[in-house]
């Protein structure tokens, strides 16, 4: 397995957990993944219950968006999304009554047909919570025979412990859900991938796995970016695919997504909350927080003790490797946002001349040549041969570069060049 052992910095938020469920207003961003083609189903003045559908993504990848509180729609506002863009949101004022549409009954979660299962996770608005934001039901809605379900609990980005937290807290429920998914979809077996240095999480599953004969725990090395779908599938199955893991009969779900599926199957509850890691050395008390989707993060940061200082800091959405800086901390929680990291602002590195040491080629998990892409990032013809689109933007090329060149940015620009006039 290719990868790099990174300084983890996970200790500061590990095993720290709190709940923040009292936002005054929530803002449901009208965006799924990168797609903003979304139909609004409410208007100003409407009263919505918790779990009520307020918008729906159009097209082939259709998925509903739910209100995470009960209250009144007071308008539409642009708010900061974790992609760094300002996105139109539905603003709902909280009446703090937590009213739901109907009283949900608990059901045995494996008593569904495959079609019912797909309907349920679709209506629950479940999307990949590891960061891709891809609707989960699409992965199961396939003619192809699924051989293995891989549950991704690797969380290889430094600082982030959201998946770890849910794994520790809900190991029992997660195992139950995996078993149900296997039965409903007639999948032979499941693999839970956990980093081998994460002994507590390993233990949480190992002590409970006894009766689940079809579920296996696989320890993966402490390398970045082994949590990336393709790398993980390759590590576990020794097999690779072109675009989607289903090509070789594999479905990969994030561990947080599995818990969301549990809630949908067991209680009929849609995806309206998630654990976000709020961490970094510039926070007074880094911690994991269970928050409602639509909550502005700065409220949560205040609630957990605030920052050490508000000057000369970087506010990063996501981990330090793949995350981006935000202009402020008034960012809205979405289902696919797993962390906010507040770091000390250091002087940016000066880029020096590339001496062609080849370290970026050596380290690239996609087996492409970042330095050669950088050389001709505006030359479409040359780029076509360099398989630029294989890049997953993991950032290791920039990480490793001794000349401190932001190699990944050139690769991103190269992707842009290829996208142009297509």
């Amino acid at each position: 397995m290719k990868g790099i052992k990174l300084v983890q910095n996970k200790e500061m938020s590990k095993d720290r957990f709190t709940i923040y469920n009292k936002p005054k207003n929530i803002y449901i961003p009208l965006i799924v993944g990168n797609d903003i083609d979304i139909t609004i189903l409410v208007k100003k003045g409407d009263y919505v219950c918790k779990g009520e559908v307020v918008a729906r993504r159009k097209g082939f990848l259709t998925i509903p968006l739910h209100s995470s509180i009960s209250g009144t729609v007071v308008g539409f506002e642009e708010q900061l999304h974790h992609s760094g863009k300002y996105v139109k949101c539905i603003k709902i004022e909280n009446d703090f009554k937590e009213r739901t549409i109907e009283k949900q009954e608990e059901k045995p979660i494996s008593k569904y047909s495959k079609q019912e299962f797909i309907e349920i996770i679709k209506n629950a608005g479940i999307i990949g919570m590891g960061g891709a934001g891809f609707p989960t039901y699409i992965k199961y809605q396939t003619e192809q025979n699924i051989k293995t379900l891989i549950v991704n609990a690797v969380e290889c980005e430094p600082y982030i412990t959201a998946d770890y937290t849910i794994g520790i807290q809900k190991a029992e429920e997660i195992l139950e859900t995996i078993d149900a998914i296997l039965e409903i979809n007639r999948i032979q077996n499941a693999v839970i991938a956990i980093k081998k240095n994460n002994s507590k999480l390993l233990q949480a599953f190992q002590t409970r796995i006894g009766t689940y004969v079809n579920i296996k725990i696989v320890e993966v090395p402490n390398l970045y970016p082994i949590g990336w779908e393709k790398a993980l599938v390759q590590f576990i199955t020794r097999n690779t695919y072109d675009k989607l893991p289903i090509e070789i009969g594999i479905v990969v779900n994030n561990i947080s997504t599995i818990y969301a599926i549990y809630q949908a199957l067991k209680k009929g509850v849609p995806l309206t909350e998630r654990i976000v890691t709020i961490t970094g050395e510039m926070l007074k008390q880094p911690t994991n927080v269970l928050v409602k989707i639509g909550t502005p993060i700065h409220e949560v940061i205040e609630a957990i003790g605030g920052m050490k200082r508000t000057k000369d800091i970087l506010c990063i959405a996501g981990g330090p490797m793949m995350g981006i800086t935000l202009p402020n901390d008034n960012v809205i929680v979405t289902a696919d946002m797993n962390a906010i990291v507040i770091l000390k602002e250091k002087e940016d590195f000066l880029e020096q001349t590339c001496m062609r040491c080849g370290k970026c080629v050596e380290v690239c998990p996609s087996r492409i040549e970042p330095v050669l892409i950088k050389d001709s990032y505006e030359n479409k013809e040359a780029l076509l041969k360099l398989q630029v689109n294989k890049c997953v933007e993991c950032g290791l090329c920039s990480y490793i570069c001794p000349a401190k060149i932001k190699v990944r940015e050139y690769v991103k620009k190269a992707k842009e060049t290829l996208r142009k006039d297509e």
């Binding site: 430094p158 508000t310 990063i316 995350g323 001349t353 001496m355 040491c357 041969k385 920039s398 940015e409």
Partner: protein, 481 residues
Amino acid sequence: MKAYHSQIGPFQRSKNKTSSMMFHVVLALLPIIIFSFYKNGIVPYIHHNVGIFGMFYPLLFIAIPPVITFTTEWVGAYFFLRKKSDNLKEYMKNSYAILPGLFLALILPIHTPISILILGSIIATVIGKLVYGGFGNNIFNPALVGRLFVITAYAGVIASHGGYLNPYEVDTISKATPLSNALSIEGIGTYEILVKPYGSLWNFFIGMIPGTVGETSALLCIVGFLYLTWKRVIKWRIPVFYIGTVFFLTTVIGLSNGLSIWYPIFQILSGGLFFGAIFMATDPVTSPVTKNGQIIYGTGLGILTVIFRYLTSYPEGVLTSILTMNMLVFIVDRLGMQCKKRENGLITIAVILILFGIVVYTINTRYTNSGETVDPNFVLLEERQIGNQVIYTVSEKGNGGPIACEVTIRDGNIIKLQVLEHNETPNYYALVEKEDYINILMKEQKKLPELDTVSGATISSNALKKLVINTLQEYEEHYEK
């Protein structure tokens, strides 16, 4: 709302720095510099060949070029690259201008006059680096450009100052570098001829053999290689495949000529192969970035070096091979990318194996088993018999083209040897004349194979020697039976 600054990730970076990588390279060279001081300074001092100044001369020799390359780059950057004050300082900080000078000192013989050393350093910086736009843009290894210039333009001068031999080595060895010795003998050689004059293979390994200032010690080069690989500074595949290829090919050549394992070991330990492979071929700027490309590059270097050593009149070949492969880096990287596909990789391996076959076959047809050579450069132009005398007009390839001679033989003895025409470099040929080599050849005509060539004019004198040997052979075949 508070506004935070934006930066571009990743926000976690490795500790790698270009400057520390360069520092590690200098550190890896340090034992080699110290050894060079020992071999070229302390040992001659102990042998009373040099005085106290002579003892420290190697250190001065190694210190001058870096100073010159640094100064040249500074001036050059100011005028050619038009860097101004702050910009200039930043540029100099990141251009590692002393390294080409340091390398240049280590790949030249200690007898290179200081003036030529300085000129070579300037050429290395200007032609090797600045004309391409400075650090990171050059195609050729700057130090090798400097060396190529010095060796082609001033070989005669260096030779007349003592060539590759140290004073104490002249006493004991009286031959040039192991490989020019190997080239001067007939056939492929034996342990007695190739290794014995220099002691043993152990001397080759530790570096107590004639050669340039820093290239002789394979041991210290290996230490440097291990250090730099551990620190992840150099592209380790290049030296491994380079040396491996030379070893493999010379093993096959050796075995097919009845020579055992000492022969390939002699070959890889000679001619500064370890130094070139480990320090020069891995220069990051002028070597491939793709992993497969580095393998192909190393293998290509190996093949070229073997070709240069056996099939041309240039005995060393390492540095020439590197300069040649420098030109092909772009293509090699392309090939390296293609080789990620399994079938392309297999095709490349097949092509390399075929090349191996061709090279070994060509070399083996030239050097036959018995040690006798069918010399393709020897031409019999005319043969006249007058009484009991046979007068041959023959030619043999020298450095600048054929050397034509008239050889008169009576009763199997050469009674007259006259050079009719030659095109040799005057500097070299002057050395041949100075030693009265023509008369030596006539005097020693019964034991020619053991006869030394003229130090510093190896190719010219060797051509004359071969010419005489071949003519005598021709006479024997037709008149003695």
